[in-house]
C-alpha cells in the first residue's frame, strides 16, 4: 500500500556509493532537469506537487521557492537544514547516512531551479560520521561530473559544501542556522526580513529540510501531479516518521500521508502495536515541541472520526484537542510513563537549548524547568500548576523565534490533558517520588 519515494532502494547493499545508486536509476532526474527543463518549470512542478516543508513548520516548499527574491548581480543560496535535533526525530540522519546521493541529487536539482551556484548542507556537529559519508558522496558525484564546473556540459556550476554545526538545537531555526553558517553566534534573527529576501550573507536564500529536498528527484522524474496524487488534501506525498517509545517496532517508516494514526501504531507493517501487556497512554506526534495528546484524542477526533497522519487531521481541533505533525518524531507512551517527569525532561531540554537572546524564553524556560523539577521531586505547591500555565502563556508568541513556543506547548498541553497527574504529584509527594511510581488514577488508556 505504501508508496516508497525516498526509501525505495534503501536496503540495496552499497547504495551509499555512486555506482550502485546510479544503477538503481540515480541521477537520471538531474540529467532530465538540467538537460530538458528550465528552472521555472522545476519550480512549477514542485509547486504542483504541493510538498510541505518536512522540517516541522509544514510551509509549502514550492511557495517558499517562489518567494525567493531575484535581484540582479546578487548570488542566491540554497541551504539544506540537516541540523536535526528535535528530541524524537531521527529521519534526516537515517536518510543521509543511507542515501547520501539522494540528498545530493535533490540539492543539485533544487539549486539549479533556484539559480544557486553555491549550496550548503548544514549538518549537526554530533553526526561527524554522516558528514564523512556526505563528503565522500559529494567527491564521487564531482568526479562523475554531476557537481562542480559545467555540470553535464550545460554550463551550470554548482559547489556543494558540507558544514558541521556546533551541536546547538537553536541552529535548526533557519535564521540562527544562517548566522551560524556565517560564523557568528547562532542567534535567530528578527523577521522580517525573511531569508528569501535577506538570508545568508544578506543575499536571498532558501532553507529547506533534508527530506523536502530529497523528494525533488522523484518529482522531476514522475511529475508534480503524480506526487500530489499521493496523500490527502493539502498533505501530499509521503513522509518519513521516526517512531520511538513503547512500541514493538521502533524505527523510521515512510508512510503515505493519510494513514490513520491507529493503523500506524497497531499495524505490523509499521509500529507493530504497544509493547505486550501494556496500554497506550499518550502520544507526541511530531517531535517534542508539539502538544502531547492522550490516547483517546490521539486516535480519534472529537467527532469520533479516526485521526489521520496528515498535517490537517493532526491539528484538527486546534491546541485544545489537537497537535501537529511537526517533524514526524512519533513518540508513544504506555501507562508506565510519568507525564510529569516527561514534561520536565522536555522542559529541561528547552532550558538547555534556549539561545538566551530574548528575555521570555531565556528566563521562562528555566523557570518552567525548575517548577516542573519541584513538582516531580515532591516539593510542588498547589499554585504551581496555574503558575506553569501562566508562564507558558507569557512565553508563547512573545519571542523572536519559535523556540519559545516549542518550549511552552508541551508544558501547556501536558497540563491541559493530564492535570490530574500533576495534581497527584503535588497531593502525594511521598508516594509520587518512590522509584517507578506512576499515577494510576482515572485516565483514558487504549
Amino acid at each position: 500500500m505504501a508508496t516508497k519515494i525516498l526509501t525505495q532502494y534503501i536496503d540495496v547493499p552499497g547504495i551509499e556509493t555512486f555506482d550502485v545508486y546510479r544503477k538503481q536509476g540515480g541521477y537520471t532526474a538531474v540529467e532530465k532537469a538540467i538537460k530538458t527543463m528550465t528552472p521555472e518549470a522545476i519550480v512549477e512542478e514542485v509547486k504542483k506537487a504541493g510538498v510541505r516543508g518536512r522540517g516541522g513548520a509544514g510551509f509549502p516548499m514550492g511557495m517558499k521557492w517562489s518567494f525567493l527574491a531575484k535581484p540582479e548581480g546578487v548570488p542566491r543560496y540554497l541551504v539544506c537544514n540537516a541540523d536535526e535535533s528535535e528530541p524524537g526525530t531521527f529521519k534526516d540522519h537515517y536518510l543521509m547516512k543511507n542515501l547520501p546521493h539522494l540528498l545530493i541529487e535533490g540539492m543539485i536539482i533544487s539549486s539549479f531551479a533556484l539559480g544557486a551556484n553555491k549550496s550548503f548542507i548544514y549538518v549537526r556537529g554530533e553526526l561527524m560520521y554522516v558528514i564523512r559519508i556526505l563528503e565522500k558522496a559529494i567527491a564521487e558525484a564531482k568526479a562523475k561530473g554531476f557537481l562542480g564546473k559545467n555540470i553535464l556540459g550545460s554550463g551550470y556550476d554548482l559547489e556543494l559544501i558540507v558544514q558541521p554545526g556546533g551541536g546547538a538545537y537553536i541552529c535548526g531555526e533557519e535564521t540562527a542556522l544562517l548566522e551560524s553558517l556565517e560564523g557568528k553566534r547562532g542567534n535567530p534573527r528578527n523577521k522580517p526580513p525573511f531569508p528569501a529576501v535577506k538570508g545568508l550573507y544578506q543575499c536571498p536564500t532558501v532553507v529547506n529540510n533534508v527530506e523536502s529536498l530529497a523528494t525533488t528527484s522523484w518529482i522531476v522524474n514522475n511529475g508534480g501531479d503524480a506526487y500530489a496524487a499521493i496523500g490527502i488534501g493539502r498533505s501530499t506525498g509521503t513522509k518519513l516518521i521516526s517512531a520511538s517509545g513503547h512500541i514493538n517496532k521502533p524505527g523510521v517508516y515512510e508512510i503515505d500521508l493519510g494513514v490513520p494514526v491507529e493503523d500506524f501504531i497497531y499495524a505490523d507493517e509499521w509500529c507493530g502495536g504497544i509493547r505486550p501487556g501494556h496500554k497506550f497512554k499518550a502520544l507526541v506526534a511530531g517531535g517534542s515541541s508539539v502538544p502531547i495528546l492522550p490516547a483517546n484524542l490521539a486516535l480519534t477526533l472529537e467527532n469520533g472520526d479516526k485521526r489521520l497522519m496528515t498535517y490537517e487531521s493532526l491539528s484538527e481541533g486546534g491546541f485544545k484537542t489537537g497537535t501537529m505533525l511537526g517533524s514526524g518524531g512519533f513518540i508513544v507512551f504506555d501507562e508506565t510513563s510519568c507525564i510529569v517527569r516527561n514534561t520536565w525532561n522536555f522542559s529541561r531540554f528547552y532550558h538547555h537549548e534556549s539561545c538566551g537572546q530574548c528575555s521570555p524564553c531565556r528566563e521562562g524556560t528555566g523557570w518552567m524547568e525548575k517548577v516542573l523539577h519541584r513538582i516531580e521531586y515532591g516539593h510542588g505547591h498547589q499554585q504551581d500548576i496555574d503558575l506553569l500555565v501562566d508562564v507558558a502563556s507569557k512565553i508563547e508568541g512573545n519571542t523572536i523565534c519559535p523556540l519559545g513556543d516549542a518550549a511552552a506547548w508541551p508544558v501547556a498541553s501536558a497540563i491541559r490533558h493530564f492535570r490530574d497527574e500533576f495534581q497527584w504529584h503535588i497531593d502525594n509527594p511521598i508516594e509520587a517520588t518512590q522509584p517507578g511510581a506512576v499515577y494510576r488514577g482515572e485516565m483514558a488508556l487504549v
Binding site: R185, S354, G356, S359, I400
Partner: protein, 361 residues
Amino acid sequence: MEDTKPQLLKVTIDGIDVEVEPGTTILQAARKIGPAVSPPAMCYYEPLKGSGGKCRACLVRVAAGSAKDPRPMPKLVASCLTAVQDGMVVENETNPQVIEARNGVVEFLLLNHPLDCPVCDQAGECDLQNFAFDHGKVTTRYEEDRRTFEKQDIGPYIQLHMTRCILCYRCVYTADQITNKRVHGVLGRGDASEIGTYIEKAIDNDFSGNVIDVCPVGALTDKTYRFKNRVWFSKPVDAHRNCPTCSGKVTLWYRGEEVIRVTARKNEWSEVTEFICNTCRFDTKKTSDWTIEGPTKISRSSVISANKYRADAIKPSFGQRLAAAEYKEIPDERDTSQLGIEPLPPERFAKTLPSAMAPEP
C-alpha cells in the same frame, strides 16, 4: 512643483494620529507623539545599529496592518523593529494583552536580577527600575535561587556585575560600532549566557567607558564613581571642553562643589546623544577643566529632576492619580464657627495634590 518629499505615512497609536516618514518604526512614531504612548525599551537604542528585538518589553498589538491590508497581525510585534505602514493602527497601553505581555517581561527580567537597588549605583537612573515601577508586581512568584556568575575583572575603569545584566546586547553593539576592536561579547547560551572577555582581559580603548552609559541596568558601572553617591543627590550640569578625541560635550554631576562623575549627554529617552572618550569621562574631574553651559534639562520624569528643576515634569504616581480621580469633597455641614477653626479654603485641597489635579503632560 514636483513633490520631492517622501510621502508621509499616517499611523494611529492608542487613538492618536501621527504622520511619519517611511521606514520609521512603530516605537519611533510613538516617541514622536510623546512619552505617554511610548512603549518601554530595554534593549533598543537608537544610536546603535542593529539593536532591539531582544527584551520584548516594547511589544505592541497591531490592530490593522495598513490601509491596504487592514488585517491585524497575528502576534504581538516588537515595536522597535516593525516598520510602520500607511494606515496602521497600533494598540499600546490600551490593549490588555499588551499590558499582560509586558508584565510578563518584567517578571522574567526580574527573575534573576538581584533586587539590590538600595546598594546599586544605577538606582535612580535605571531603565529596569522604571519599567518595573510601571509594570511590575510587588511580590515575586520565583522561589528558586537566582543565578550567579564568577566575578570577572574587565579593567580599571569599568565594573562588571554580571548578576544584574539583562542581556540587552547594547554594550556589545557599542563596542562593535564605536571602537575598533571589540574584546567582550556574550558567552554561553540560554540563561547561562554572560557578558565577558573569555580570557580575562581588560577592555582597554579610548571609548570603552561608553558601555557604562548605554547599560540600562547596573551591570556596567563606573569604578571611579562606585559607592560614592546616590544619583538623586547630585546635580547634573551641561559642560564642554576642547577635546582632541571626542566632541567634549558632557554632563557633569556635582555634589556640592565637587565633580563626582562625568557622563555623556542623554536625551529624554536616556539615549546618549554623543559618545565621549575615556579622558573626558574618567580623568577630567575638575570644574576648571570645563566650560559650564548650565543645568541639564531633564524632561523625563525622574528622581534626578525631582524638586530641582521642573516640578511640572514629575509624572504623578499611580496612587496620586487614583486619589485625584476619586477625590470628592465631603460636604461638611457642621457648624464650626463656635470652635474658632478657619474653614479650609478649597484651593488648599488642590494644593495637596498639585500634580495630580493637573492634566497629564
